[in-house]
């Protein structure tokens, strides 16, 4: 089954027939976590780096922010039986406009916070397609753990 992850959303699965997908990643980040032994995988789509900007919204929807969202995503993976040492992380998104002043570069900050949290959890990012001015669609195929990015009609593995 194809399960769509909206903006500020996360889906988790242990069903080999599932494909998790998220569309229209601009400056948002899409991160997949996959445990190939336990066959548990998840995909998150976060817009903003830090929840301190709006704590009330973070409480209602932790997946809007990387810090609260990724922390909760990891917890859900562990709760379902995924093991930290098995987890493969792949990251896409974090694009930017043609912006000289960088005041709108939320994408880069999103990536920094993802890296920080994964580093603290001892999880390596094994595939990545970030930055630039392109939009992306990300898919996680639950049967193989394959993560792909699609941009302008072209789908490739990361």
């Amino acid at each position: 089954m194809i399960k769509t992850v909206d903006i500020s959303d996360m889906k988790i699965s242990n069903n080999e027939n599932d494909i998790l997908v998220t569309y229209s990643l601009g400056s948002c980040v899409g991160l997949t976590l996959y445990d190939p032994i336990e066959k548990i995988g998840s995909l998150i789509h976060c817009m903003l780096p830090l929840s301190k900007i709006d704590k009330e919204k973070a409480q209602k929807n932790p997946y809007m922010f990387v810090d609260t969202g990724l922390t909760k995503m990891l917890q859900e993976m562990y709760d379902r039986g995924a093991k930290r040492k098995n987890i493969i992380a792949k990251l896409a998104g974090g694009a930017k406009l043609l912006d000289k002043k960088n005041i709108f570069n939320v994408g880069e900050r999103n990536i920094v916070i993802v890296r920080k949290i994964l580093w603290k959890n001892d999880i390596l990012i094994q595939g990545m397609d970030v930055g630039g001015s392109k939009s992306r669609t990300v898919r996680l195929y639950m049967d193989s753990g394959r993560t792909t990015v699609r941009n302008k009609g072209e789908e490739y593995d990361i």
Binding site: L48, L98, V106, S135
Partner: protein, 284 residues
Amino acid sequence: MMNKREEIIKKLDTIQSIPAIVSKVYKILKNRDELDFKELVRMIEYDPGLTTNILKYANSAFYGFKYKISSLHQALIRIGMDKIFDIVVAAAVGPILKQSVKGYDLPRGKLWEHSIGVAIGSEQLAKELNIQAPNYLFTAGLLIDIGKIVLGSFVDVDAQPIIALAFEKHIPFDVAERRVLGIDHTEVGALLLEKWGIPEEIVMVERWHHQPDRYEGDKLVVDLVHTADTLTMIAGIGGYGTDGLNYRPSPEVSTRLGLTRAINEKVIAEIIGNVEKVYEMLTI
């Protein structure tokens, strides 16, 4: 033989009009001190489609009232004077902005979603900056990409050279439009709004939303809408078409408005948090 620019401008004649009531309502609401409420009700009642829509809006979950209202008079009071014009415009242009857009490769509903994001973002930004902005701010935001509806079929034909300029030479998409077609979606949009009798202050926002520094009038609304468009774009509200993220935000606008990262991020959170609710209300 006509050049492309002339051909595009000629195409505007084939676009459907919006009801004349839109500019009439604006005129009545503008003179707030001498506002003739009865006259306003009478005028709207004259348009049964619009009356039905306004009643639907007023009874939508957005306002959160349990009891249903059935008179236009009550509906206008519930919506509030400041919002009546927004609602009238949304009812008139909604069906047009909801269409799929050729050339920009936007599926049905996506341009509408983006437009609503910009409208919400403009108001939230003004609030965040403690700025008392004019009443037409929401509507100015809602209308910014209307030109894409007309220009889309021309972008479709000349997609290759436009895309090459934008994605290989990193030239903003509106500049690429101008170089290849001799006109961009902001100018086409402004001409269309003018033809529809939309007030000039709103037409100017449409015209200059990608080049706010070139506008010689009061830049406040243009600056707010330009920024809200940028924030809606990076958040991916309404998805991405052919133009993707290929636009350049003006650093001068950031300075004029005193934008900070924190303000930008707060506004993004508000757009994401509200877009679905407003979309639902305006999509009846």
